[in-house]
């Protein structure tokens, strides 16, 4: 599904991740990640985001994420919430 408007979920508090879901003028999924643990978990976080996006059926979107050490379940939850808010 294409994302037609900007939505967000999450916060910049410790252990959380702020996810902003935006339309993408180019096709495909683009992940822009900032994280306090980018070296140790950057790949893992991007994997979680792209797998969840796939499950939800998000095809063309920019996902901007500002991570403050969120565990995987929080990343999944925040992305699901941002997606829900598109409807």
């Amino acid at each position: 599904m294409d994302i037609k408007k900007i939505t967000k979920a999450g916060t910049l508090e410790s252990n959380d991740i702020l996810i902003i879901l935006m339309p993408n003028s180019n096709p495909g999924l683009e992940i822009q990640l900032e994280s306090i643990v980018i070296e140790q978990f950057g790949d893992q976080i991007k994997k979680t985001i792209s797998e969840t996006a796939k499950e939800l059926g998000i095809e063309n979107a920019i996902i901007k994420a500002q991570d403050k050490g969120a565990l995987d379940y929080t990343i999944v939850a925040r992305l699901k919430t941002a997606f829900l808010r598109v409807r």
């Binding site: 979920a9 999450g10 508090e13 410790s14 252990n15 959380d16 969120a70 565990l71 995987d72 379940y73 929080t74 999944v76 939850a77 925040r78 699901k80 919430t81 829900l84 808010r85």
Partner: protein, 291 residues
């Protein structure tokens, strides 16, 4: 899932850090809160976060309870639908009424059937915090077999009565008694309202002792530092345990001699005294105070 509810710790549902530390803070039960701790605009966010948290984190050491939004809000249906599928131990129902418990029970049965869960797996803990709820507390409990405990919601109840809520709690004395009696009659746990001054440990202990003396099995907690003090109140101390052990020893001796009723320290020891002693030793063993 633990077997006792000396403390039930409220944790805000939209806070990942707290959801993660909840199971290790020492409370017997944790209540992940979708209601008062979550702002109206974030109800969806909290619901999804709690759902994912329950799927992922290890809550096996505590009783896992989720307080959903009241049944007269737009949120409760989605709360029940989402949360029950991840199988918490119980749902806590604010401002519970007979119809509310009936409705939730039906919904849970349907979902448990769909999901292939054992019917009745998910328990219910109504919160009595309205005058109407207080009046109908026994019926509310008896509406569903899922009800295992009842929480007294002192703040909202006094608000409904349009009276002041105080530390010493005279204004909720009747409510405390009524709920305790109804719970006892129905065979479920009565859980006391939280003590809101988190800096007043002495006041907390006094308040908890009052609840214990009226038959409450535990107390709601709004800050982890209240947990230890409340546990001390609801856990038998060494004096009680020593006395209980002596009672049971004397009983065994009397049984050996074929005597039914006997005396100890000049007082008659009959069946109720003996059952209380048995109960104390059970608790002492449960809490690992004795082997």
């Amino acid at each position: 899932m633990s077997n006792f509810r000396r403390t039930m710790l409220f944790m805000p549902g939209d806070n990942p850090g707290m959801l993660q530390s909840a199971p290790i803070l020492g409370a017997d039960s944790v209540i992940l809160d979708l209601e008062d701790a979550v702002s109206l605009t974030e109800k969806d966010s909290a619901r999804i976060l709690v759902t994912e948290a329950i799927k992922f984190l290890d809550y096996s050491g505590v009783e896992l309870v989720v307080r959903i939004n009241p049944l007269d809000t737009e949120f409760s249906l989605l709360d029940i639908d989402n949360i029950s599928r991840v199988k918490p131990d119980a749902l806590m129902i604010p401002k519970a009424s007979i119809d509310d418990i009936s409705e939730v029970d039906r919904k849970l049965t349907r979902i448990e059937e769909e999901q292939g869960f054992y019917i009745g797996t998910i328990k219910l803990i109504p919160i009595i915090e309205t005058a109407f709820g207080l009046e109908k507390v026994y019926e509310i409990i008896m509406t569903s077999k899922r009800v295992e405990a009842v929480l007294l919601g002192g703040e909202d109840l006094t608000s409904d009565f349009e009276i002041n809520r105080t530390k010493t709690g005279e204004e909720i004395f009747y409510a405390r008694c009524r709920i305790s009696a109804a719970c006892r009659a129905a065979g479920v746990d009565a859980i006391d309202t939280p003590f809101t001054d988190i800096n007043d440990m002495e006041g907390l202990i006094k308040d908890t002792l009052k609840a214990k003396s009226l038959g409450y099995k535990g107390k709601a907690v709004i800050n982890p530092r209240q947990i230890d003090s409340i546990h001390k109140v609801f856990t038998p101390d060494s004096r009680e345990i020593k006395y209980a052990l002596r009672v049971l020893e004397a009983r065994d001796e009397a049984l050996g001699k074929g005597i039914g009723v006997f005396s100890m320290d000049g007082k008659m020891v009959d069946a109720p005294v003996i059952s209380r002693a048995v109960r104390i030793i059970e608790l002492a063993k449960l809490f690992n105070i004795i082997k």
